[in-house]
């Protein structure tokens, strides 16, 4: 079953170790240590490796190129975790950014209807959320509570609480009402639209030439609440530079009910495909994404 298992990678002590290195030496020493961790994952993380190689094969990469990109993938993923801690905790750093499409999000704020920002597990989505502070509108991030509690508590103690509201997806329906309330308050609601947990309703779309399941929830929310939508990503372009992308505002309010969900999915897939082709090493869905 090609679903995410609902838990993130890495033991708690690993996070503590890296935070210690960051506080003592800064970002670059942490990246050096990360190289050894990367080697470990390349050698022993067979399931993840298989999924990444499968993905790279879909993009047309041969064996040699795929192996190189696999190493880069694990290394970059580790960097995204380090960078997240650095930026959110205010550790001194030399990160720079450019923002492509920020004007669309500012226009969304002016429209006064709230905004649904859909992203995927490519690039550094947590940085993207952090960067959205610039917009001056309240940000709500919808997420599964996938981190082990002790990791979450530890990271919160290091970075401080996220300066955005977190709406946790629970078995009850409370998150639906909170999302609706946030949108009505002209706030942004950010969520991933690529990963689902087994048992969730899904919708199927053609991604990189093969059908894959996507979680139905984000697309139903976009379709039924009739709010402006943008697809956002934050991609790492060098060891110290991120490039934030936001697509033009997508307005689906006039699209017929029987086709709108599928259309939003198609548009999202197109945006995802564009990004993964540009940045093939930054795909972080470490499970079999296709049926």
């Amino acid at each position: 079953m090609p679903a995410w298992e609902g838990r993130s990678k890495g033991p708690a002590w690993g996070f503590r170790f890296f935070v210690t290195v960051l506080k003592i030496g800064g970002v670059m020493p942490a990246y050096v240590v990360l190289r050894f961790v990367t080697l470990y994952y390349v050698l022993f993380s067979h399931k993840s490796t298989k999924s990444v190689l499968h993905f790279l094969h879909k993009l047309g990469y041969g064996k040699g190129a795929s192996l190189l990109k696999l190493v880069q993938n694990y290394y970059l993923f580790g960097q995204t975790l380090i960078d997240k801690v650095v930026m959110m905790s205010g550790i001194k750093n030399k990160f720079t950014f450019n923002f492509d499409g920020e004007e669309h999000l500012l226009k969304m704020v002016q429209l006064g209807k709230g905004g649904l920002l859909l992203s995927a597990h490519i690039g550094n989505w947590e940085i993207a959320g952090h960067l959205l502070k610039r917009l001056g509108a309240p940000i709500n991030v919808v997420m599964y509570d996938g981190e082990q509690q002790q990791i979450k508590e530890y990271l919160d103690s290091v970075t401080g609480k996220r300066n955005m509201n977190v709406i946790v997806i629970k078995n009850d329906t409370s998150h639906i009402f909170k999302i609706n309330a946030a949108l009505q308050n002209n706030e942004f609601v950010c969520m991933h639209a690529d990963r689902f947990v087994a048992g969730n309703k899904t919708i199927t779309g053609n991604f990189l030439g093969q059908y894959a399941k996507f979680p139905l929830g984000p697309f139903i929310l976009a379709a039924r609440f009739k709010v402006p939508v943008s697809f956002v990503f934050a991609m790492k372009e060098s060891s110290t530079h991120y490039h934030f992308f936001a697509t033009d505002i997508q307005d689906y309010s006039a699209v017929p009910k029987d086709v709108v969900t599928g259309q939003i999915l198609d548009d999202f897939i197109k945006a995802m495909e564009t990004k993964v082709k540009q940045y093939p090493e930054q795909w972080y869905n470490y499970y079999d994404f296709w049926q």
């Binding site: 329906t173 639906i176 909170k178 309330a181 929830g217 139903i220």
Partner: protein
């Protein structure tokens, strides 16, 4: 709005939206089970409530709503609530 109007209107749009026989909607019936609601269906429920009765559903509103009678009472209270200034 009178309660009888609320009941009639509610039953009509719920039966249509969730494609069930309107005769299955009785005051003591369980809302979630009768309409076979999952979490995503609550999105549609929020939208039809707001569009039919012209008030905003708040996150805490559905706590304690189990039967259709609970739902009618909730809608009646919201629809007939005086506006706060």
């Amino acid at each position: 709005m009178q309660l009888s109007e609320i009941i009639e209107k509610t039953n009509e749009f719920l039966a249509e939206e969730f494609e069930i026989d309107v005769t299955k909607i009785t005051p003591e019936a369980n809302l979630k089970d009768t309409l076979e609601l999952d979490s995503l269906d609550y999105i549609d429920l929020v939208v039809v409530i707001e569009s039919n009765f012209n008030f905003k559903v708040k996150p805490e509103d559905f706590v304690g709503i189990v039967t259709f009678q609970d739902f009618y009472t909730y809608v009646e209270n919201r629809v007939n609530a005086p506006e706060l200034v």
